[in-house]
């Protein structure tokens, strides 16, 4: 078996349509391609001519899994352009909304998409036969995340209550307090989730990544901060495009994001964790330690533990926000459009999501640029596979294929997001 081909024609348990093609020649990995055949939807193009206030609702439709991230990045970009700062309870409510999305998205991935790989099941429904209580815990925990998004956003997918400047309607104290009991349960369930994921078996696969995430002086990052890395990057959000480039590489027709002069990088829970460990709550740190990871974690398979740790953090942060909430006088800060360029970058569950808009004096969008997290991770996913496969060439084909899929799912890739600028590559072998 000197020459082999590993093919996954339709990668399952990810959001969107992609395929994997690996060619092995003389027991060496000759080629790795993560192909995206998700149809292009041209969001940046049809945003031109729309009004600034439409961007949160339109860009949310890029991704049904993380619409809040799109709404947050677009709102912050518009507010940046108009010189508006959203503070106080409105800022806290935005963090709360993001907590809901992290819980819902992370728990979906941990229990329904990723754990079945570790335990040898095709899906969570099959897994439920032997691990019924874990799957039920996952579903109930995911629901608490969705309940936060629904209360604050109106519905869990494509929330309707987010606007540039704040919200259309803010909840009363009493409405928010209804979430306290479910969140206390969720906090315990998240702790159990950290322990549960810590008990999974992980391949020995440490990589020397350049992790890129937001970093904020006072808090674990959601909406604001500087873009930093463990290899010296430390820039304001508006400098993003000066330091991050999208390149076309020889072996693939998809665009890959790289740090200029250095190469591919890693965004998402693992990057956030490594760069912001000191900002986690004491209990989240303790849970991580007990589950077997310290302040530095370079094994992408252990991202499942980190997602659980971030879920625990999000439950605690949500409780903190709700318990100290005072209803603001106005649901939104008034907005006066003006000409300019606005930049926004927030931490989607899968990693940083960058938006940039150029606006005319009336607030009409002249052009837009969106860089989603999965696009940024794509080169790193491929480089992981190049490292991962050589030591596993003796595995039978079906096992090797499954393990490659698992290595991709480490990134919780959201192909629907990445598609709107990746080259369309239809090739269904």
């Amino acid at each position: 078996m000197k020459n082999r081909v590993v093919k996954v024609d339709y990668l399952a348990r990810v959001e969107g349509e992609s395929a994997l093609h690996v060619r092995i020649r003389d027991r060496k990995v000759a080629d790795v391609k993560l192909k995206v055949f998700e149809p292009p939807r041209l969001f940046e193009a049809f945003l031109r001519g729309r009004r600034f206030h439409e961007a949160p609702d339109i860009t949310a439709r890029i991704c049904g899994i993380c619409p809040v991230a799109y709404q947050m990045s677009s709102c912050h970009a518009m507010e940046d352009a108009f010189g508006v700062t959203v503070g106080g309870p409105l800022r806290e409510l935005r963090r709360l909304l993001y907590c809901g999305e992290w819980i819902e998205s992370h728990v979906l991935h941990v229990y329904l998409l990723h754990a079945p790989d570790f335990l040898g099941y095709e899906d969570a429904i099959q897994m439920a036969r032997k691990h019924g209580s874990a799957v039920l815990r996952g579903l109930k925990l995911k629901k608490v995340g969705n309940d936060i998004v629904t209360l604050l956003g109106g519905r869990e997918i494509h929330p309707i209550n987010v606007r540039v400047g704040g919200f259309y309607r803010v909840p009363t104290k009493k409405e928010l307090r209804a979430l306290i009991e479910p969140l206390k349960w969720a906090r315990d369930a998240a702790l159990e989730t950290v322990e549960w994921t810590g008990g999974l078996k992980f391949p020995d696969f440490e990589q020397d990544y350049e992790f890129v995430a937001l970093r904020h002086p006072d808090e674990y990052p959601f909406n604001e901060g500087r873009v930093v890395s463990n290899k010296g990057l430390d820039i304001a959000i508006r400098e993003f495009e000066n330091y991050i480039a999208e390149q076309q590489v020889a072996h693939s027709t998809a665009l890959h994001a790289v740090v200029r002069g250095r190469g591919n990088y890693h965004v998402g829970p693992l990057a956030r964790y490594n760069l912001n460990y000191d900002k986690l709550t004491p209990s989240a740190k303790a849970a991580a330690r007990k589950a077997g990871i310290g302040p530095v974690c370079r094994n992408p398979f252990q991202s499942i533990i980190v997602r659980a740790v971030e879920t625990l953090y999000a439950c605690e942060e949500a409780l903190r926000i709700i318990e100290s909430y005072e209803m603001p006088d106005q649901p939104a800060v008034p907005i006066e459009p003006r000409a300019g360029i606005g930049y926004g970058c927030t931490e989607a569950p899968r990693g940083i999501l960058y938006h940039r808009y150029r606006l005319d004096p009336t607030g009409q969008i002249l052009d837009a640029r969106i860089v989603p997290p999965t696009a940024q991770n794509q080169a790193t996913i491929e480089s992981d596979l190049r490292q991962f496969i050589p030591k596993r060439l003796n595995l039978p084909q079906d096992k090797l294929t499954w393990q490659c899929e698992q290595a991709i799912r480490n990134y919780d890739p959201c192909i629907s997001c990445s598609c709107h600028f990746l080259k369309l590559h239809i090739e269904r072998e």
């Binding site: 990668l11 399952a12 348990r13 990810v14 959001e15 969107g16 055949f37 998700e38 149809p39 292009p40 939807r41 041209l42 969001f43 940046e44 193009a45 049809f46 729309r50 009004r51 439409e54 339109i58 439709r61 890029i62 991704c63 049904g64 899994i65 619409p67 979906l108 329904l112 998409l113 095709e122 899906d123 429904i125 099959q126 439920a128 039920l136 579903l139 109930k140 995911k142 629901k143 969705n146 109106g154 519905r155 997918i157 494509h158 309707i160 209550n161 919200f167 259309y168 309607r169 027709t253 052009d367 499954w402 899929e405 959201c414 629907s416 709107h420 600028f421 080259k423 369309l424 239809i426």
Partner: protein, 259 residues
């Protein structure tokens, strides 16, 4: 559907955001019950296992935007007993149907550095433009209650109860004060199909039409009222031209206000 085996359910994706099929996974309380009542035979977002067709029920998400997908939808139709389209992309072409009002050759270079590589159709079209559709669920995203209701109805051999009247009826039934009459907030509720539960008015915001046109909508009368509230032609055009832009009544109304 033989009584001895569970009906096979398949989920298919075309151009979309994945949100509507996620609605199935968001049925946290019902998911395992649904999985107990049907055999989930093809649902890549949730499982790597694929059971061969034909499938008793197919849920189709997304619109047709590429030559390849225009072929693939026929394969899906042939393999399916009952084909249900889910969401605004599948039922109306989705937000990506905004391309239908512009020249695709001008749009692609705005996003892609090498436009020649992009194989895409001039228009984003609903599934029903290509194959026969047995039933459609509206919404951007769909309502998971309507999804569960539809699956239950089919499993029990009855017609799904999904109303085609306007959002106004739901709004009144919830006892929400009309945002248009009381606050002068432009609202698409009078011409938009019910199903969401009148979420936007409940949050003091006008409906933005994500469930598409109701049965026999009077869009012109609503536009006139919007005009009295201060909306300009451009505002009205953009309001009708969003997630269901290519649904016939909304398309006509947006074109009537295009300069």
């Amino acid at each position: 559907m033989a009584a001895t085996r569970k009906p096979k359910l398949a989920v298919w994706k075309f151009a979309s955001c994945d949100g509507c099929q996620l609605s199935l996974l968001d049925c946290e309380d019902e998911l395992l019950a649904v999985a107990g009542a049907v055999e989930i035979a093809n649902f890549p977002e949730a499982s790597r296992a694929v059971v061969k067709g034909p499938y008793d029920i197919s849920l189709v998400e997304g619109s047709i935007t590429t030559p390849h997908d225009a072929e693939r939808i026929h394969q899906v139709r042939r393999a399916s007993g009952i084909l249900i389209t889910i969401g605004a992309c599948a039922t109306a072409g989705g937000i990506q149907a905004l391309r239908n009002f512009r020249n695709i050759k001008e749009l692609v270079p705005m996003v892609y550095p090498t436009p020649a590589y992009i194989e895409t159709l001039n228009k984003s079209t609903p599934i029903a433009d290509h194959v026969f559709v047995d039933f459609e669920l509206r919404g951007c995203p769909i309502s998971k209650h309507q999804l569960v209701e539809t699956l239950c109805a089919l499993l029990n051999g009855r017609k799904p109860n999904t109303p085609t009247y306007s959002v106004c009826l739901e709004c009144k039934r919830r006892g929400i004060v009309c945002v248009m009459v009381a606050h002068g907030t432009p609202c698409l509720g009078p011409v938009t199909q019910a199903g969401c539960g009148a979420i936007c008015p409940a949050y003091q915001r006008g409906c933005y039409g994500c469930f598409g046109p109701k049965e026999t909508p009077n869009t012109a009368a609503l536009s006139a009222l919007w005009g009295q509230l201060g909306a300009r032609d451009g505002d009205i055009m953009r309001a009708f031209r969003s997630f269901n832009a290519y649904a016939e009544p909304f398309r006509r109304e947006s074109e009537a206000h295009e300069k």
